[in-house]
Each structure stands twice: as structure tokens, then as C-alpha cells.
């Protein structure tokens, strides 16, 4: 079939070199494809940081670059969480910022003047290329087939489940964490296979890096011990396992404690206890193995039973005692919500209010993974067939990650790598069997036919696929699926995951693109028109963006470390003006920012999040804010004429619809998000005045009025300005004094 010149290149020792070279070229191409498929947003919009959290990371990175590493480490940020401030240096995962800081300085050293913003924007695509390489290494460890690694790398490079968190500009912890996750697992597999201290230590080092980069490190912390535990239960203890695990645990735990945010958690928190337990267990098993070498079976069993009973009793008692006495912290809330999906909704509304903590919808699996999701079980099954140590790892990982991905949308990210591995294993097996165009040699055929007399089970029939028809059909369909996969991935990436969400895009009726840039307009207005330390109050979603883009102090932000403070803001937003105004004064608020999508039909606005504000506030002040008050008697959430008084009088409602009616002919005001007609009268704001409203009314800014010069209360002052007659009753009582101090 093949021309002879090709044969020379593909066979023998030069063939090995050629294949190696080809492999390198293919990997580079995959990495390039991975990077370039993430650039949609840069091309379509501009090189800009996306969403919410990346804005904080960007701001922190700028701080790191300007002030150096040590002051970054000790950074106390007084421009967030006013008036509390935040010990930022000790409460973040510094891996991401330090990584881009190092890249920045290296490029500077090479005299390449590059803006830190561009580094931050391009960091995630760059690391996704590395992830593809790490994926190749990991999968190559699992399979002998040369194609499995390359397939896995290609899948990992373009699968939407991973792209969703790593497009250009999504400068978030996950950007580097997934690479570290995959690479740590690769090193771990390597360590288990070789049983050398070096690989174990390298695993620990990358684990430490991972700890510094993402809170999801707990996944590794539990997965590796589980792997070891299952190996022990299968009776597969070996010195290799002992060496790699203990090295990893001893070094990795110490390494993770170097991060101030993690600190003593690895020995205090129950999330980390399984690793410690398995560490103890493997010591015992190793000791037992050691003793076993010196004893005949009977006595050994006797000794073993007594030892097992003793240690189990001691360990369990100790754990219970420590948990009761409170030395070991109870499981964290996020962890509980992993087991009981309803837990967060009842106990911690702030966790439940984040959309990425919601359970995954079924279509999301197909949307994010396409045909990999149905190759996934096949790949896991093939791991069961071989079931070496590393295949056990794949099985455990896939079971755990599938469960977690079903519980939380964002954990789809941890499922994606193993799906790529398993799917690549399955697909490479198919391709290896069907793509090879060889027929069985006559010799083997003859062998199979000659020994008819031997037992049937010992016979070795020639099994294989040799018909051209079945081969071509299977290969064609697989190729078709692969092509569809690429098309799907590109489509999903360009349509669903490449929007910066700071800049919105919509299509005009004639099909041309219409850029909605209200956020930046409003933030820039703040930057230009307000004093440097004007405090901005907004719902916490926008805290990071205000800090990053407008550079103004905020009350709450996406860090959500202080639930009470957030509840205070929620209370101010959901109460009557008379209640809210003292809160605003007490917190030195100068401007209040609300997001309102009613004019444009932008559904992610504050009125749609309003119930969460009410719920969170209710969690702290159950007798002042009640969720029930915001629903009508029939249990509807309405904003029109029939809205409840609590709703109509709430600050949020008033700020959202203030003057909105004036845009429309009388009585025609329509809210296009909630599709309702609004009351004729615009709500009356007394204590705030409108300062700025963006072009499409998405962002509205209100200035908090100072106390009245004449000592009147604000509703009277407004009424006076409007020329209404003052009620006599208030005159005699004297001015009501607002106690703000």
C-alpha cells in the first residue's frame, strides 16, 4: 500500500525518530489549537479581563507588581469591605498572581516590554496549552497505545468544559489550577509506578503549587489518599505505594501549610483528615509487612488482629474526642453542600446564591463534553479490564468527579480531565483495532486450526476484525464524530463562553452587532467624577469590578468572607428608606450602585437577585426583614401595581425604577425583564439623588444626600422643594434627629 520511500521513514530506528518528531509536532499543533480557540473574545471585543473574580486577581497582580512580593504578602486592603478592610495577603491563593508576576519579570528581563494586563489576559490560554501537554503525559502512562495520549491532549485542548474557565481574559485561579491538577496526577501516577522518592517529592512540590493556586486542591488531598486506600483494600500494598504516598504526604502537607490562607488547616480541618488517616494506616501496614517477614503465618495473624483492633479503637476514639473538643474543625459548609444538595439553601444562603454552586443540569454534560461523555463509561470499563494501579486511579477519579460534577456546576471542571483520559483510552482502542489494515498471517491461522484436539479453553483462536467493510464503516463514523466534536467545541466556545460579561453584545434586527458597554461607562464615570475615597455600596457581585475598574472603596465584594456585612448591605437594599438611610450614613456610603436591566431586558440585574439579598438579610435580622413580605398574598414575586408595600418601599425597588416611568408615555412603562407594566407613578426617593445613569440604564448610580441643612428630615425637605405644604404636626415636634454616631 504505502510507497517504499515512506516505508523507509516509518520503519526501523529511523522510524522511531520520525514518529517521535511527528508526536512533538502534533503536540505543538494541539497546544497551538488550544491557545487559539480561546482567543475569540480578544478578537471580538478587546483584550480585557472578564467577569468578576478576575478583576480582583488583576488588581492584586497589579499590586504585586508595584509593591513587590513582601508587601503583597502582608497586604492589608483598606479599600474593600469598608470600614473593616480585608487582610488580603493572608486570605487569597497567591499562586496565580505570583505566576503572572514571575512571567512579567522574566519578560522584562528579556527586554520584552509587555503590559501586565496582556499577561493576565493571555495567561489562561497559555496554560491551557500546557494542560494539553500534561494530559498527553498522564494518558500515556495509562495506555500502551501511542494514540491515546495524543487524543487525550486534543480533547483536553478544545473541550468546552475546560474552555469555559480558561478563555482569554478569564484570569481566574482555575486558569492555572487545572494544569496543576493534571500535572500533579501525572506525577503521582509516575511515583506509584516507579516507587521513587524523587517522583513523590515532585508530586508534593506541584501539589504545593496547586494549593497556592486554588481551593480545589482539597480534591487532590482526598483523591490520592483514597487511591492508596483502595489499593490497600485490594491487597496491593507495595513498597512503591508506601514510598510515593508517604513522601507525598509528608512533603505536600508541609508545603501546603506554607500558604498563609491554608495555614494549619491540613491538621485541623476534617476535609484533610482522610489523608492523615491513610498516612497512619499505611505506616501500620508497612510495619505489619515488615513483621510478616519474620514470622510464620499463624502467629502473624494473631499479632495482626490484636494490632488492628487496638489501633482502630485508639484512632476512632481519638478522632471522636478531638472532634468533640473542637480541636479539629467541623467540615466546611461548602463541603456539606457537596453531600446534601439542599444543605446550602437552608443554612448558608450566600453559598446557594452563587449560580455556579447550583446542581448541574443534564444537558450541560453533553453541552460541555459532547461525544466524550458517552465514550467515558467505555473508557472506565477498559480500565477495569486492565486494572493496574494507575487504572484504579482512573476508576476512582471518574466515580468521584462524576458525582461532584452532578452536584455543582463549577465542578464540571474537575470532571473534564478524567473524561478526556477515559474517552481517549476508549477511542484509541477502537482506532488501534480498526485502523490497522493487516490480515492474520497464514502461520497463525494454521496454528489455530491445527490443535483441534486440545481443550477448547486452551485453544487460541484468531480473533480480530479483518473485513474492509466493517473497518471502513467504523473508521468513517469515528472520523465523523471527531469532526462533529471539533465543530461543536468551536461553536460552543464562540457562542457561550467567549463573552466577557463586562461588555455585552447583542444583535440588532438587521444582524449587525451592538456592543453594550454600560458597566465600563458607569465605572469610568465613578473614576472621573468622584473623590478618590468615595465609598460605593452595591450588591457584592460588583465589588471586585468597582475595585478594579473604578478604583473606589467598596462595602462588600465577591470575597464574601463576612456574611454579616453582606447582610447589612442586603438589609439596606431591602428596607424602607427611613431604615436604610442610617445604615448608609453609618457606613460612610457616598454612592449606591444598582444594576437594572428593565429597559434592555438584561436579566442578570439586581431586582432578579433581590430575593437573595432579602434572604441573606433575613438570616441575620429575622424580625426586621422577612422574605414573605416581598411576595404577594398569592405568593407571587411582582413589581407592578400589585407589588407588596415592603417591595414598593424597598430601596432597591425605588432605585431601580426611579424616573423610569418618564421614559415612556404616561401609564405605558414596561419592564422588559419581568415583562410587566409598571405603576404610573415613579417611586419617590428622598434620601438619595440620582447621580448617573448609563446609556442603556443598566447601571444606575445614586448619591447619598447629606443631612439637611435646616435639620429637617429628608422626606419633608423633598416635599418642601416640591412646594407641598408642610404638615403641622412635625413642626411642633421639632426636627427628627437622625442618630448616626
Amino acid at each position: 500500500m504505502a510507497p517504499s520511500s515512506l516505508d523507509v521513514v516509518l520503519k526501523g530506528s529511523s522510524g522511531r525518530n520520525t514518529r517521535g518528531l511527528l508526536r512533538v509536532i502534533i503536540l505543538c499543533t494541539i497546544a497551538a489549537a488550544a491557545v487559539s480557540s480561546r482567543l475569540f473574545s480578544v478578537i471580538r471585543f478587546e483584550s480585557i479581563i472578564h467577569e468578576f473574580d478576575p478583576w480582583f486577581n488583576f488588581r492584586a497582580t497589579k499590586y504585586l507588581i508595584e509593591n513587590g512580593f513582601y508587601s503583597f504578602w502582608d497586604w492589608f486592603d483598606d479599600r474593600t469591605w469598608h470600614p473593616l478592610g480585608r487582610v488580603t495577603g493572608g486570605t487569597l491563593y497567591p499562586g496565580l498572581m505570583v505566576t503572572s508576576g514571575v512571567i512579567y519579570h522574566i519578560l522584562r528581563l528579556l527586554t520584552i516590554p509587555v503590559d501586565i494586563r496582556n499577561i493576565c489576559v493571555m495567561l489562561a490560554p497559555g496554560f491551557s496549552g500546557l494542560t494539553a501537554l500534561a494530559m498527553y503525559l498522564l494518558t500515556s502512562e495509562m495506555s500502551d497505545s501511542p494514540s491515546a495520549g495524543l487524543l487525550a491532549a486534543a480533547f483536553m485542548g478544545i473541550t468546552p468544559g475546560y474552555i469555559s474557565r480558561s478563555v482569554a481574559g478569564s484570569y481566574d485561579n482555575e486558569a492555572i489550577a487545572i494544569f496543576l491538577l493534571v500535572f500533579t496526577f501525572y506525577l503521582w501516577i509516575k511515583a506509584v509506578k516507579n516507587g521513587s522518592i524523587m517522583w513523590g517529592a515532585l508530586t508534593a512540590l506541584f501539589y504545593g503549587y496547586m494549593v497556592s493556586a486554588w481551593g480545589g486542591y482539597v480534591f487532590i488531598t482526598n483523591l490520592i489518599p483514597l487511591h492508596v486506600f483502595v489499593l490497600l483494600c485490594m491487597g496491593r500494598y507495595s513498597t512503591r505505594v508506601y514510598i510515593s504516598y508517604t513522601t507525598w504526604y509528608a512533603l505536600g502537607t508541609l508545603g501546603s501549610m506554607q500558604i498563609p490562607f491554608v495555614g494549619f488547616l491540613p491538621i485541623r480541618n476534617s476535609d484533610h483528615m482522610s489523608a492523615l488517616g491513610v498516612f497512619g494506616l499505611i505506616q501500620l501496614v508497612a510495619f505489619a509487612e515488615f513483621i510478616r517477614g519474620y514470622l510464620p503465618g499463624k502467629q502473624f495473624q494473631k499479632l495482626l488482629t490484636s494490632m488492628v483492633l487496638l489501633t482502630f479503637g485508639l484512632g476512632f476514639g481519638g478522632l471522636v474526642l478531638l472532634s468533640i473538643s473542637g480541636v479539629i474543625a467541623p467540615w466546611s459548609g461548602r463541603f456539606y453542600s457537596l453531600w446534601d444538595t439542599g444543605y446550602a439553601k437552608i443554612h448558608i444562603p450566600i453559598i446557594a446564591s452563587v449560580s455556579e454552586h447550583q446542581p448541574t443540569a443534564w444537558p450541560a454534560f453533553f453541552f460541555d463534553l459532547n461525544f466524550l461523555i458517552w465514550l467515558f463509561p467505555a473508557g472506565v470499563f477498559m480500565c477495569f479490564q486492565k486494572l493496574k494501579d494507575e487504572h484504579v486511579f482512573v476508576v476512582i477519579y471518574s466515580v468521584l468527579a462524576s458525582y461532584f460534577a452532578g452536584v455543582m456546576v463549577r465542578l464540571m471542571l474537575t470532571l473534564t480531565p478524567i473524561v478526556c483520559v477515559a474517552a481517549a483510552l476508549a477511542l484509541s482502542c477502537i482506532l488501534d483495532n480498526f485502523l490497522v489494515a493487516s490480515t492474520p498471517s497464514t502461520e497463525t491461522k494454521a496454528k489455530a486450526t491445527t490443535d483441534d484436539k486440545s481443550l477448547r479453553s486452551t485453544r487460541n483462536p484468531v480473533v480480530g476484525i479483518y473485513s474492509w467493510f466493517s473497518k471502513s464503516v467504523v473508521v468513517a463514523s469515528v472520523t465523523l464524530y471527531l469532526l462533529l466534536f471539533v465543530a461543536h467545541c468551536t461553536w460552543v466556545t464562540s457562542n457561550a463562553y467567549s463573552s466577557p460579561s463586562v461588555v455585552l453584545a447583542s444583535k440588532l434586527p438587521d444582524g449587525s452587532q451592538f456592543i453594550i458597554d454600560d458597566y465600563r461607562e458607569a465605572y469610568y464615570w465613578l473614576r472621573q467624577n468622584t473623590p478618590d475615597n468615595a465609598k460605593i455600596m452595591s450588591w457584592w457581585d460588583y465589588g471586585y469590578q468597582i475595585g478594579g475598574m473604578a478604583d473606589r472603596p467598596t462595602l462588600v465584594d465577591n470575597n464574601t468572607w463576612n456574611n454579616t456585612h453582606i447582610a447589612t448591605v442586603g438589609k439596606a437594599m431591602s428596607s424602607r428608606e427611613e431604615v436604610s438611610y442610617p445604615i448608609l450614613r453609618q457606613h460612610d456610603v457616598d454612592y449606591v450602585l444598582v444594576v437594572f436591566g428593565g429597559l434592555l431586558g438584561y436579566s442578570g440585574d439586581d431586582l432578579n437577585k433581590f430575593l437573595w439579598m432579602v434572604r441573606i438579610a433575613e438570616g441575620i435580622w429575622p424580625d426586621e426583614v422577612k422574605e414573605r413580605d416581598y411576595f404577594t398574598a398569592r405568593g407571587e414575586y411582582r413589581v407592578d401595581e400589585e407589588a407588596t408595600p415592603a417591595m414598593k418601599n424597598s430601596l432597591m425597588y425605588k432605585m431601580s425604577y426611579h424616573n423610569f416611568q418618564s421614559l415612556f408615555p404616561a401609564g405605558q412603562a414596561m419592564d422588559r425583564v419581568r415583562n410587566t407594566k409598571l405603576p404610573k407613578e415613579s417611586p419617590q426617593l428622598n434620601t438619595l439623588e440620582e447621580a448617573f445613569t448609563s446609556e442603556n440604564w443598566i447601571v444606575r448610580l445614586y448619591k447619598v444626600k447629606d443631612l439637611d441643612n435646616l435639620g429637617r428630615d429628608h422626606s419633608n425637605a423633598v416635599a418642601f422643594d416640591k412646594g407641598l405644604k408642610r404638615k403641622r404636626a412635625t413642626k411642633h415636634k421639632g426636627p427628627r434627629v437622625l442618630r448616626t454616631e
Binding site: 516507587g195 521513587s196 524523587m198 513498597t239 508517604t246 510478616r292
Partner: protein, 170 residues
Amino acid sequence: MAPKRHAASTTSAASSTPTPTPALTTPKLSSGPTTLKTNASAAEIATHVWQQYASTTPQRTLLLDAFMAFLVLVGGLQFVYCVVAGNYPFNAFLSGFSAAVGQFVLTASLRMQTSDSGTGSGSKPSSKGKNARFVDESEEQGTGISHERAFADYIFGSLILHFFCVNFIN
């Protein structure tokens, strides 16, 4: 498994723990008394194990074992201090303790890697019955790594360990 017998079988001699020195001088001699009774008491088993161990372990491995015992002692002392006198500089305690634990674990790993093939000449007493399977397995695993490589790995691991400890000690 050449039959190696100490002249005087010390099976039932419940004497005090023999010092490792005789074993050091005669590492080749092993007293593999397989005559331990099936219903022996725990103490007898323990002494039996100890004698086996002392007489069959080569000197280099014994050195490692002494170091490990020392580390256990140091770790235990620190732990006792922590329990008795309070854990005030918790960083310091943790790094001291984990230095001991980590070094212990690394040394144990080194011991496994070196003693597998080091005693592979047949002085390992455990290749009988169903234990043989495990020994063969571990020996087959141990062949991948030479002693020099194991020691280099050990140094690499220890360096990282102590870097972390010093960094953490405050």
C-alpha cells in the same frame, strides 16, 4: 535459602533484648528458628521477631534503623512536650514534629529501596509459604532503582523537607 542455624538455637530464650552488636559482626549468620510454636504468647512472638531481626539485618540497614528509632524518639519527645507544656509556638512545634515524621518516612523509604536488593542474596528469612509471593513482588519492584539513585532521591526529598520546615518555623 541455605539452611543457616545459630549453634545454640535461642528460640525459647526469653532473655533481655540482645544488642545489635553481635549481628553487626556476623551479618551473614541468621538464626532462622522456624520452631516457634503456633500457640506462642505475644511476648514470645515479639522476642522471636526481635532476634530474627537482630541477626539477619545487615549493618547498613541497622544504621538506618537506628536513625529511624532516633527520629521516633525525637518526634515523641516533641509531642510529649506539646501535650505537657502547651503548643504555644505552634509553627515551631509543627515544623519540628513534621521534620521528624518526614525524615522518618523518607528514611523508611530509603530503607525499603536499599534493603530489598541488598538482602536479596538469600538472607531474607521470609521467603516461605505465601509470604514468598510478596517478597518476590517487592524484590521485583526494587530492581528498578539502584542504591545510588535511591540515596540521591533521599537527599532531594530531605532538602525539600528541611527547606519547608525552616521556612515554616517562624
